[in-house]
């Protein structure tokens, strides 16, 4: 088994919490993991990405080779497109549709979504609205993780365990809200595939 995942977003959007959720699930499944992160200057509102590699065999490179990612998971629509050279022809693009506009020349959202739809395997969802619907507006990143989960070859229960551990110290209420968010995201993808 291997899952090469590019996580994408804007500095400050919290993609590393998604990475941590998957990472914990991978560790619980006794898989090898390498995860390359961006720290420093770009975290100030610039584009950020994380290369997350999971495998049942030892992993060599900290970076995913171009054209070989199984999944791009983006919490921002324009950022989902920035890493397309990494996506395998059979790979999936899963993105939130809500733009993060902190530059003056941010393109029209329709143009961006039109490009997303050109990718053969894509899921585009309004994770903010889904998170709000289930009464947990802050959990949109975990909705995104849920939406991408069918494409990550880790048992869903392990992801749930990862979420429990990740949010455990914040209390049962927060854990439950995020488990709900995870499930809501997964349900969206399973319905729309």
């Amino acid at each position: 088994m291997k899952a090469d995942i590019i996580l994408a977003g804007v500095g400050g959007q919290g993609i590393l919490s998604i990475a941590a959720g998957i990472g914990l699930a991978a560790v619980k499944s006794n898989l090898y993991i390498k995860q390359s992160e961006v720290h420093g200057m770009s975290q100030r509102g610039g584009d950020v990405q994380s290369h997350l590699r999971i495998s049942d065999k030892p992993i060599s490179s900290d970076l995913i080779p171009q054209g070989q990612a199984d999944l791009i998971l983006s919490v921002e629509p324009m950022e989902s497109l920035r890493y397309l050279p990494f996506l395998s022809k059979k790979g999936w693009l899963v993105t939130n549709t809500i733009p993060f506009e902190n530059i003056p020349d941010y393109p029209a959202i329709d143009q961006i979504l039109a490009e997303v739809k050109k990718v053969p395997n894509h899921i585009a969802l309004d994770a903010d609205a889904i998170a709000k619907d289930i009464g947990s507006a802050k959990s949109s990143n975990i909705v995104m993780l849920g939406a991408a989960s069918p494409f990550i070859d880790i048992p869903f229960e392990k992801l749930q365990e990862g979420i429990r551990e990740l949010f455990g110290r914040k209390g049962d209420e927060v854990v439950e809200a995020n488990l709900k968010a995870l499930k809501a995201g997964r349900d969206y993808t399973e319905k729309s595939r």
Binding site: D62, L84, N102
Partner: protein, 539 residues
């Protein structure tokens, strides 16, 4: 022992703790910052009473670490590659003094300049100082090297460098720990003159250092980190240094018996294995992240041996970090293609946070400078360097820590009056104070703005040595109190702040203006922690 999921930086920190350090000294700088932060957060380090406070700059850190070594204990000093420039005087001479307790110098390079102003290669510094370098290829090696480097240092009587790059520093993987070693006991150097570098003593020490080179070579040849892996192909032999080994293996792991590969992770370069590889193959390919240092050494100036491929002949790009695709191309292998980036995608450079006090400083300054025209603001290293970008386009230089004040002074000496220096609080105590003294002595016609956000912001909000001390420091250095102004950079003070700035810009002498407002990031974190402590926030 337990298996931990650690960043390369964290693996080094844990390795150093388990390897028996009594202290870590550092100044924050991407990609090295997380090493000190890990030790500061470690309960184990607290129980072991490991000293772990930030230093004012890399030079003071290096010297304090050398002092701990003098006293017989093990110390590690950590900084980013350009920090080694600041520490270089102490670093190079520490190779001449030698050590008492083991001393490790961790330098984190940033090829591709993700968060830096250059991509200099610290391995050159280690070669210059004639000390060994360890360069991990993965997080486990990072741990193991930090764990054992202190013994190597004590055995050879020199500091040992661990060199990592951004990718190693900020990538996470599983790490297996080893048994915790005891700290050294306090002990003076057996030779009381070892650390006294008077010429007569330095000459003796230097000869000892030269004599030790042969032992360093032998140890590199015998090192478990350097391995010649034999293959069937006699055409191309491959040398892979540090993390480059991973990119190589990513490409050839399904066919490992094909190439002859020399993995190098301990320097000086292992002569014996390089000669063997050279004799086995018609041509060599050198893969190294950073400068082509190994490639140059093997190729030599005359370049009259077998063909050597690498960064110098264009097989690998001359600049930037390596990745699996670059290595695949150099091997003549096919590279898989993904999808092109659609034209609609725009650049998204980093920017000052919404609510950041530096923003107001730039707004005020741009208005105050209107009558003088642009091109006279010398800036420094920190978040405020982002003021160079639109919408502010407010600063004209960013070179090295502290250069704002001294460059403004030089420009004013040349007749560019007024010249403005813009520096942050942490950068000011790092390297700005001495330059300010130069300006005080000549009463230079410059306006120094110390934009004080009470933290080292760019690296994530570490403690600033300047906290609560800037005004006193300026007074102590001799700044005229009549031209030392503290402002609050908020919107409603805009007009008042512009008035003060204009006044001081018009003054024909040295002024220091200190806009003070806490970093919005540390402010938000502090408030969140307070709410959590009060049990009101569960997010």
């Amino acid at each position: 022992m337990n298996n931990l999921l650690l960043l390369g930086d964290e693996a080094i920190a844990q390795g150093a703790i388990d390897g028996g350090i009594s202290g870590i000294y550092a100044y924050p700088g991407t990609p090295s910052t997380e090493i000190m932060e890990y030790v500061q957060a470690s309960k184990q380090a607290a129980e072991l009473k490991i000293h772990c406070k930030w230093s004012a700059n890399e030079k003071t850190a290096m010297e304090a670490a050398l002092g701990m070594s003098y006293a017989g204990k093990r110390a590690i000093v950590c900084f980013k590659h350009v920090g080694l420039n600041v520490a270089a005087d102490a670093f190079v001479n520490a190779a001449i003094t030698g050590v008492n307790g083991g001393l490790v110098v961790l330098s984190a390079d940033d090829p591709s300049m993700h968060s830096s102003q250059n991509e200099q290669d610290s391995r050159f510094y280690a070669k210059f100082a004639m000390i060994p370098t360890l360069e991990p290829s993965n997080q486990q090696e990072a741990y193991d090297m930090a764990y054992t480097a202190f013994e190597l240092s004590e055995k050879l009587n020199v500091p040992v460098m661990i060199r990592i790059t951004t990718r190693m520093a900020h990538s996470r993987a599983g790490v297996q720990r080893k048994a915790v070693k005891q700290q050294n006991k306090l002990s003076l150097p057996s030779n009381p003159r070892q650390f006294v570098l008077l010429p007569a003593i330095a000459k003796v020490n230097y000869k000892k250092l030269l004599d030790t080179q042969a032992i360093m070579n032998t140890l590199a040849e015998e090192s478990e980190y350097n391995r010649l892996i034999k293959g069937s192909d006699t055409k191309l032999g491959i040398i892979a240094c540090g993390i480059a080994y991973n990119y190589l293996m990513e490409n050839i792991s399904s066919n490992v018996n094909h190439y002859n590969v020399l993995k190098i992770s301990q320097y000086p370069i292992p002569h014996k294995q390089i000669k063997e590889l050279y004799s086995l193959c018609d041509e060599l390919l050198v893969l190294e992240d950073g400068y082509p240092i190994v490639e140059e050494m093997i190729r030599g100036f005359l370049n009259n041996g077998k063909t050597i491929h690498g960064r110098l002949d264009g097989s690998i790009p001359r600049d930037g970090e390596l990745n699996p695709a670059i290595v695949a191309k150099a091997l003549g292998m096919a590279v898989s293609e993904g999808f092109p980036i659609p034209e609609v995608v725009r650049k998204r450079p980093p920017s000052l946070c919404v609510g950041c006090g530096h923003r107001d400083v730039f707004t005020d300054l741009n208005v105050a400078l209107q009558e003088y025209g642009t091109g006279r603001v010398f800036s420094d290293i920190g978040c405020y360097t982002l003021g160079a970008l639109p919408p502010f386009s407010a600063v004209n230089s960013c070179v090295d820590m502290g250069a704002s004040i001294t460059m403004a002074k030089g420009a004013a000496d040349a007749g560019l009056v007024p010249a403005v220096a813009l520096i942050g609080d942490s950068t000011f105590t790092h390297s700005g104070m001495t330059g300010l003294l130069d300006a005080v002595i000549e009463n230079s016609s410059i306006t120094v703005i110390i934009s004080d956000n009470s933290t080292a912001g760019m690296t994530g909000g570490q403690a600033s040595s300047a906290l609560g001390r800037i005004v006193d420091i300026c007074k102590g250095i001799g700044v005229d109190p009549n031209h030392l102004k503290v402002l609050s950079p908020i919107k409603k003070n805009h007009e008042e702040n512009v008035r003060i700035l204009k006044e001081e810009l018009a003054y024909n002498g040295l002024s220091v203006i200190i806009p003070q407002r806490e970093c919005i990031q540390t402010f938000a974190r502090r408030k969140k922690a307070e709410r959590r402590a009060a049990g009101k926030d569960t997010d």
